[in-house]
Symmetry: C2
Subunit: 434 residues, 2 copies
Amino acid sequence: MEEPTSTSEGFPPQMPSTTADSLAVNSQRYPIVNYPVSVVLPAAGSGERTGLRTPKQFCSILGRPLISYTIHAFERILWIDTIVVVVPKESHCLMEDIILKYNHTKVKIVDGGSTRHRSIFNGLRAFSEQGTGFNLQKPEVVIIHDAVRPFLEEDFLHKITVCAKDHGVCGAIRPLVSTVVAATTEGKLDHTLERARYRASEMPQGFIYDIIYEAYQKCSEAEFEFGTECLDLALRHCGVSAKLMEGPPTLWKVTYSQDVVSAEAIIKESLSQYAYIIAGQCMETQHLSNLMKNGLTEAGMVVDVVPSTEKIRNLSTSRNFIKLSMCWPNLAEIKEMTSGSEDTKDFALYPVIICWVYLNVSDCVSTQSENDEAPNVMTLAEDVQNRNILLYCVQVCYNKPCTLWERRVKKVCEITAGLIRQRSSSLIGQILQA
Amino acid sequence: MEEPTSTSEGFPPQMPSTTADSLAVNSQRYPIVNYPVSVVLPAAGSGERTGLRTPKQFCSILGRPLISYTIHAFERILWIDTIVVVVPKESHCLMEDIILKYNHTKVKIVDGGSTRHRSIFNGLRAFSEQGTGFNLQKPEVVIIHDAVRPFLEEDFLHKITVCAKDHGVCGAIRPLVSTVVAATTEGKLDHTLERARYRASEMPQGFIYDIIYEAYQKCSEAEFEFGTECLDLALRHCGVSAKLMEGPPTLWKVTYSQDVVSAEAIIKESLSQYAYIIAGQCMETQHLSNLMKNGLTEAGMVVDVVPSTEKIRNLSTSRNFIKLSMCWPNLAEIKEMTSGSEDTKDFALYPVIICWVYLNVSDCVSTQSENDEAPNVMTLAEDVQNRNILLYCVQVCYNKPCTLWERRVKKVCEITAGLIRQRSSSLIGQILQA
């Protein structure tokens, strides 16, 4: 039997401590998942509350639809079998395109119903004998989640799954951030709830499949129309009281338009925690690599210095590379740098950043020949952007008095940290001066 | 009697529709505020939940502490008198520095108590005869708000104030985002609340000063220790049932570390809605200005083209300037561009962005003389950064075939929009190529 592990790096991919923790937790404290587990992901909402034209599950975050992040959060987990995504009929083609573009391999699309509960029921039916012709294996445990909660860690999902297997039903909760009040019909304060006694019910929720499927089969029309809580249905129709499990604050749901902006910022932040400096074989670049490691560490990043790209093959714990070189960027080296992860589908999921730091040991004032490089660098950057690599170039002059050199090192750290944090496609191919 | 208006641009300063709406709403639907209104802003929390070393009210957002944004949201409103900020004793000096640095003129600092309610009571006392020696005018209405809710619109604050004057007490509410559940002592689902009957109680809350002050004077030790809700105290001790008023989603509270990242992203987004293109007098720059207006409008920005800086003096609806020029950036013109707002304190509050687009009509390959400009531009950028101006330079070549020219216009739009949205201090003084 295998330990439950991730197929790739987990989300966020650049938070090594989280990934390490989750594996440690799984192997030490939790039983192994050796029964079929699948997911139903209702994504049929119209997104009225965001005030955006695009339903929020399809909003673009770093160029990729939000729902693809949520799908990936499940898909990377070995012990998850199938992810049934329930979308409105009119979004069926869009969803198929997303699956194709981002290489999602575990997804089945089911048409949504007129309410959230009808959509979930449609999703659950895909695993039953009355199913939709997918011929899917009936899961022992089914996870129900929201398409608009992309930040999901494996260790928490594991806890929910195991707890659902043991107790029949398990739901994520969070402490209430605000006090909850009841209003009179005149819109006045009736009473205040005692905050400590209540919790916000969040997603994911886990169920023994037979329990939640039975509960939905017994649902009244009124429940299909106005019900909000799957936990409540399991209690009413099957008498199973959900075990409640406190989750992390990242379970947060994208609800309003400002949340789309926030989600992108959080993803960018998590992607920029970690970087590799590829120091090369020259004394000068190796010297600079040590100084940059210190500078970037001070700026809050976790940095590894490696002599060559050989060392980072297949590690893929970072999508941020700082290449120190006495030459201008060239395609062969970029291909070599990224070949470790190139054949995996992860490449489509998050852009790779390459900050090519060109160490100029000649006269510091730019010469004509170097300026001739500018169009070449831009062409190269536009070329590799098609492979989801964002290439920037930073020129640093080496032969200068010590005081200036210190300032330049500080500057090159600021610039590279800024480029990594912003992940801006509008600045690719630029030659910046440190 | 004067209409209630903002002293400056409102927050977010670049959302013209919001500002316009709020003024329209105030003058059309709401009575004038002609009685003293002051604010108590408890900011004595330790920020345990953020998991950050700095208490969240002092976390830096675009280089400025979060609490300064919240203070500014009140300070810009003419009919607000005093803002009593309640901070822990050990943060007193820090708070004084913030007041000085950002020119906050309406703030008084009061020492916090051991709980939130004790801190609020300390704040309220500053207006009473038992006060702290400030000799402050007792307000008719006092607003209690959170230091960690920086997104506050004047029109909503006006509604809360007027409603508090009429009903004695008024509190902001929001619909519940999540279902609320009650747990058994074993951590299982006891029951689910009917979502439609309940609301999340948010801030700001408004009170007739005498009511809330009396309520706090009657507070028991247990209430000071464990109570969470001012509305509840007013109901219990003074028998006044708060009117509840639904507020916008922006009333959201910075609670966790991810929220600090989100708040910065939301502020950046709001600051980048609006830009001025200063077209100059040349045919070439005027031609480019029209093309850029179209490009940036397509990218979702609201853009005004003006021939010179004369036209934008004192408008200050935007902090983003795109200057088109056949010359390299120079200090005299930058001073002229920013002189309209220079004497107001707003200048310290939000950085001004200047994208200096240099139109190169000579041979497109950079010449030695232009490269000589690079150190000058960097020096200038570092100089004006001290005045909170972020200067970037974009070089565009003019004399080229039509097809290339179209691509260049597209590129210069992408670059300037990106610079404005990212507001990155690490890229100041760079000469980018479009």
